[in-house]
Symmetry: none
Subunit: 213 residues, 4 copies
């Protein structure tokens, strides 16, 4: 169907309900692409599937996006960027303390994986299907996000707050744990977001061996 599954896009919001209200083309397509790419993967998805789910013709899709690859690139970049900005926002509020900063990162990450499960899956799996130029651009953003984690853990160790011997492996573990959430979390289940954040914060603190905080 054409209804946005995830975050509402400012551009649409319009008449809604039913077929895509003439003019909501771009968003309808983006949403449809997001869903189907997540379900079947980039190569497993045909551009006809996307157009159909968006309730538009094949050609309308090309009116808004120049190619299947651009559609993917836009989706991945938008998603990664949103994640990065969410982290920065939480960090800005977290102050200077490594433990608080690590908590902020876990909160941002878990929240993102839960709220944007669909993007999260795509980002994890379809990254390799980007053409080199798009991939490079995305890499820089991803590296910046990695650095956020790295710096916090390094700082915690320096200040004697974290005690893990291998910070890189600790970082990888925490990130992998948060990322995995997108694969299994059921929003209809018993665990709500805040509870989940609490649980993964605990785990993260154990992984970096935080003591006395």
């Amino acid at each position: 169907m054409s209804a946005p599954t995830q975050q509402p896009t400012p551009t649409d919001g319009g008449p809604a309900a039913g077929g895509p209200p003439r003019g909501a083309g771009r968003a309808a397509i983006t949403n449809a692409a997001r869903e189907i790419f997540a379900e079947r993967g980039y190569h497993g998805t045909s551009i006809r599937d996307i157009a159909a789910r968006a309730g538009l013709s094949l050609s309308a899709l090309y009116h808004w996006h120049s190619s299947k690859q651009d559609l993917l690139a836009a989706l991945l970049w938008e998603g990664t960027n949103d994640y990065f900005e969410a982290c920065e926002r939480e960090l800005a509020a977290a102050g200077d303390d490594p433990t608080q900063r690590l908590r902020a990162m876990v909160r941002s990450s878990v929240a993102y994986r839960v709220r944007r499960r669909v993007e999260s899956k795509i980002i994890a799996q379809e990254w390799r299907n980007l053409e080199p130029e798009h991939q490079e651009r995305l890499n820089e953003l991803a590296d910046a996000a990695t650095r956020l984690w790295t710096d916090i853990i390094a700082d915690g160790i320096r200040r004697g707050v974290f005690h893990c011997a291998h910070p890189e492996d600790a970082r990888r573990t925490v990130v992998a744990a948060c990322n995995a959430i997108a694969q299994w979390y059921d929003p209809a289940g018993e665990v709500d977001l805040e509870e989940l954040i609490a649980r993964y914060t605990d785990i993260a603190l154990r992984v970096v061996d935080a003591r006395g905080s």
Copy 2:
């Protein structure tokens, strides 16, 4: 490039070493498929690519495997089964102690992800491209593997050796951390397998909050 990149498969074993493994049709194809599926994904790989890398004709491929889907299914099942058997082997040697059993699981998992990086990537990513019947069969095996972890952690808690409040999240974290190794580990790097096992064992024990062992 028909030469096996990874572990030699028992099925082949032939004259090997050098040119296109004389008469080793089946294995050549399996190996080629494994590599290319890992590189480009199931839908991104064409059966012609596989035949070409195996140094065989398209028709030869069909002589050995009945379809592209079967090729994938065989690969995934074989890989998952090998992993499961490796776990059982290590567990048999580990005795009854939860800590020793968890160590055994981490050892099996890390070793598998390192030695069979290619299969590991495929298992992680291409699972969804299996047709339902194959998927179901594989699911049972995967669930059995999950149960190995679950039972060990549950036992550890019951015996007061592990203290984590949310065993499922602990299990997911440890498994995700081990799985991720396949994505980043560089066998030419400085960290050898035993060192890596040691590090991830430590992390796993912190995640389940093992005390006094």
Copy 3:
């Protein structure tokens, strides 16, 4: 871009000079179409290309011309007609003498191929892409032009001025020679129009074997 490359079209004539010919929609489109049809051929040209080079939107194009085919038909007819009228004009001034009349035809033809190279190419190549009705209409005009040549040569032979045994082949040769000019003539080269006319008049007179004139 959108500036007319060749002769100014009476239809436009507007403010012109510089940017997109203000309000000169129709002419801008005709000119753009002429250029691109000549460069890439009818089927090799998209209506979007034309609109883009004219600096107009796709819909504007349809405001002025009812279809791609009509655009071609208009171009071809206009061009052929201009050629025919140029011939008649020169002939009217040439009087009755077959030699003078042949000279007039060569002059008209060479001048047209030089001054309107672009149209000339289109007329030569895109004729076959006209739909039957347009083609028929154009044929009549082309036949009339052919008859101008035929009659002059026949008259010259009758009067004993020309001596070629096969007037049709002579006519075809002269016409082919003039037509070819559009393909190779370089207006920036050393040979100017008058010189070229002189040369081809000589050739034509040799081809029809004119003696004592």
Copy 4:
């Protein structure tokens, strides 16, 4: 080559009559392409049209030719090369005399345009649709053919046998006249090949102003 439009190829002769005898793929396609490209032009021809006329499936076409462009390039190259070789063959037999050599060139050219009308049309019209690399390769061959004419006329003038003042224009006229034959000649008409050669030889000699031979 199986479909009989033009010269018979020794390679075929097989089962004939009816659909293309399994195995005659390559030639059937080449022949079909030649015909349709000549009728509708490169861009006006769809690869499906070609396959259909060849009595094969679309995919079979791609089994034999890697792309539509390659099909065109092969056709153009083959045709131009055949023409060039025919010229060289006739010239070898013509000896040293400029008049005899010019006669040989006219003979080769007229014969080619008559016997291979279809190729001739394609060569004349579709040259511009070749991609640059193919175009360049073909250009060299075409230039070599041009040089054959140029050298003969220059030699004739030097020896005082030809007297035209502008050899390049003479050459262009003769070549254009011969080329044009492909457009109008009707093999079912009254003029046979030898007669046509005689007529165009006469014209050519008049154009270069050959005297006393």
